[in-house]
C-alpha cells in the first residue's frame, strides 16, 4: 500500500541541486512512498536570514510549517540539511517560547501547533527504506566510501537529537547495508564553508579541499553526502578546491539517495548523477543474490 508523506524540497533542490530531489523522488517511488509537496512553500531563509534578521529567520520557516499544518501533514521530509536544520530549530524555539510564538503567529497570520515531525533524509531512509532495501537491491555497492555529514545534519545535537555529534554513524550504516566499506576518517562533521561559496570562494576552497583530499588520500572511491550545500561545494566548486590543495582531485560526490538508487539499478536519469561536475566514474557490477528468507519476509509485508 502506498504511503503518503509531506515533502519540503527547498530552493536548491529546484535549482542547482535538482538531482538531489530527482534521486529522492526515485527512491521514494521505489519504496511506495508518495512525496506530497508542502503547498505553496517558500524559502526557509537559510543562513542569510538568521545572520541578518532574527525575527525574519523565524517567520519564513514558520510559514512553511503553517502550510504543512494547514494541509494536515503530520510528517514532512526535508532532504536539504540546511532547510531541515532551520525548520527544526524554529519549531523547537517557537514551541518553548510563548512570547516568540505569539509574535511570529501574528506576523504569519496562523496558529502554529509546533507538532510536525520533521525528518532529514537519513531518518527518511531509516523509516521507509532500510528495512526493505535488501529485497530490492540489484547491485552491491562494493566500494570504499567516505560518509560526510557536515554541520547542519548533526548540530546542534541538543535540539536535532540525531546521531552522534562527533562521530555520526547513520550514513555509514546505510552504506554498509548496501555492501560498501565506509572508511574511518576525522572530517565527518567538519564544515565545507557552506554559504561562502560565492562571497569567499577562497575559504570554501581551503575547507572543502581539505575534506575531499582527506577522503581521497584514505582511499575512498566516493564521498557520500546529505546536503546540497556540501554537494555543490565539494562537486561544483572542485576547481577552487584543487587550486587550494595544489593537486587534482577526482573523487566523485554522491548524495546518499543516489547511492541507494544506484544499488537499486536505477538509470543515470533517475539518479541524476549525469548532472554532476565531477564525473561519477563508478559502475556497480556485482549483482546481489537475495537470500530466500528475505524474499519471504518481504512478501509477508
Amino acid at each position: 500500500m502506498q504511503k503518503k508523506i509531506g515533502y519540503y524540497p527547498g530552493c536548491s533542490l529546484e535549482g542547482s541541486s535538482r538531482e538531489y530531489s530527482e534521486s529522492v523522488v526515485t527512491l521514494a517511488n521505489a519504496f511506495d512512498v508518495e512525496l506530497v509537496q508542502v503547498p505553496d512553500w517558500n524559502c526557509c531563509g537559510a543562513t542569510a536570514a538568521h545572520n541578518l534578521n532574527s525575527i525574519l529567520s523565524f517567520s519564513l520557516p514558520a510559514r512553511i510549517l503553517a502550510k504543512a499544518q494547514e494541509a494536515e501533514m503530520d510528517t514532512i521530509v526535508v532532504p536539504c540539511a540546511a532547510c531541515y536544520n532551520r525548520l527544526t530549530m524554529v519549531q523547537h524555539e517557537l514551541k518553548k517560547n510563548d512570547t516568540l510564538r505569539a509574535e511570529v503567529n501574528g506576523i504569519i497570520g496562523a496558529e502554529l501547533k509546533c507538532d510536525i515531525k520533521i525528518l532529514n533524509i537519513v531518518q527518511f531512509i531509516q523509516m521507509f527504506v532500510a528495512d526493505f532495501v535488501a529485497s530490492k537491491q540489484q547491485f552491491l555497492f562494493d566500494k570504499k566510501v567516505a560518509c560526510y555529514y557536515g554541520c547542519l545534519l548533526v548540530r546542534p545535537h541538543d535540539v536535532l537529537d540525531f546521531d552522534r555529534t562527533e562521530d555520526p554513524q547513520s550514513m555509514d550504516e546505510v552504506m554498509k547495508s548496501l555492501g560498501a566499506n565506509p572508511i574511518d576518517w576525522p572530517f565527518k562533521t567538519e564544515c565545507c564553508g557552506a554559504g561562502m561559496s560565492v562571497s569567499r570562494t577562497d575559504i570554501v576552497g581551503r575547507l572543502s579541499g581539505r575534506i575531499v583530499k582527506e577522503a581521497a588520500d584514505r582511499g575512498a572511491e566516493a564521498i557520500i553526502v546529505a546536503c546540497p550545500m556540501c554537494h555543490s561545494n565539494l562537486d561544483m566548486r572542485r576547481p577552487a578546491l584543487e587550486k587550494a590543495m595544489g593537486e587534482k582531485l577526482t573523487i566523485p560526490v554522491l548524495y546518499i539517495s543516489q547511492a541507494i538508487d544506484m544499488a537499486l539499478g536505477k538509470s543515470q536519469k533517475e539518479t541524476g548523477i549525469n548532472r554532476h561536475f565531477v564525473p561519477v566514474n563508478i559502475s556497480l557490477q556485482n549483482r546481489v543474490v537475495v537470500p530466500e528468507v528475505v524474499l519471504e519476509k518481504t512478501e509477508e509485508n
Binding site: A48, N53, E166, G195, M196, L207, M236
Partner: protein, 184 residues
C-alpha cells in the same frame, strides 16, 4: 528574558536579547580549536568571548567592527564542543545584526554581507530563492561582475540553472514579512 539590562555593555545587551551569557566562558579554547575559520579571524571565538567579558566599550566596538563576526560560517562546532554550552553562533548572529544597525561592519566583509542581502532580496520578490537573480544582485552589490561567469554554460547544460524564478502564490505575504520584521 529579564526585563532589566544590567548595563550598557554589548554582553549585557546580548544576554538581554538572547539569554547567551558570555560571562560563563572560562577560556578553555575548544571553540577556537574547532572553528574552521578561526585562523582567518582577528578574534577567534574564545577571544571574542573574552572581549565581551571585559564590558569595555572599546572592546565592544572592536567586535562590532571585526571581520570575525562575518567570517563565522554558523557551523555550530563551537557550541557543540563548549563545556559551558555557550551559544556562540547565536552571539555571532546578534553581533552581526548590531554591527549592521550601527553601521560598523568591516569594509572587507562587504562581499559576505552583499551575498546575504542579495539572498534575502531574491526571496522578498518571489518567495523562493532564484539563483540567477541572487548572483546578478550580488554582482551589482559587490561589483564582482565577471565572477563565476565561466560556470554558467556548464550549469545550464546540466539543467542546474532555471532561467525563470518560481513565483509562489504567497509572495506578497512573504514580502509583508520583510516589512513587518524590518528593524526600526
Amino acid at each position: 528574558m529579564s526585563a532589566h539590562i544590567e548595563n550598557n555593555s554589548l554582553s549585557a545587551k546580548l544576554q538581554h536579547a538572547t539569554e547567551v551569557k558570555s560571562a560563563k566562558c572560562y577560556q578553555c579554547g575548544k571553540c577556537s580549536a574547532g572553528c574552521p575559520v578561526s585562523n582567518e579571524m582577528e578574534y577567534p571565538p574564545s577571544v571574542a568571548m573574552r572581549l565581551l567579558q571585559t564590558e569595555d566599550p572599546e572592546n565592544d566596538k572592536k567586535l562590532l567592527k571585526s571581520q570575525t563576526i562575518w567570517l563565522c560560517v554558523s557551523c555550530e562546532m563551537c557550541l557543540s564542543r563548549c563545556p559551558m554550552e555557550i551559544d556562540i553562533p547565536k552571539a555571532m548572529d546578534f553581533m552581526r545584526q548590531k554591527s549592521l544597525a550601527e553601521g560598523l561592519s568591516h569594509p572587507k566583509s562587504k562581499n559576505i554581507i552583499s551575498f546575504h542581502k542579495a539572498f534575502l532580496d531574491s526571496i522578498k520578490f518571489t518567495g523562493r530563492l532564484h539563483e540567477i537573480s541572487l548572483v546578478a544582485d550580488y554582482k551589482l552589490r559587490s561589483w564582482h561582475l565577471g565572477q563565476d561567469v565561466g560556470m554558467v554554460p556548464s550549469m545550464l547544460s546540466r539543467g542546474k540553472l532555471p532561467i525563470l524564478p518560481e513565483m509562489i502564490k504567497g509572495r506578497k505575504q512573504v514580502a509583508e514579512f520583510f516589512k513587518k520584521t524590518k528593524k526600526t
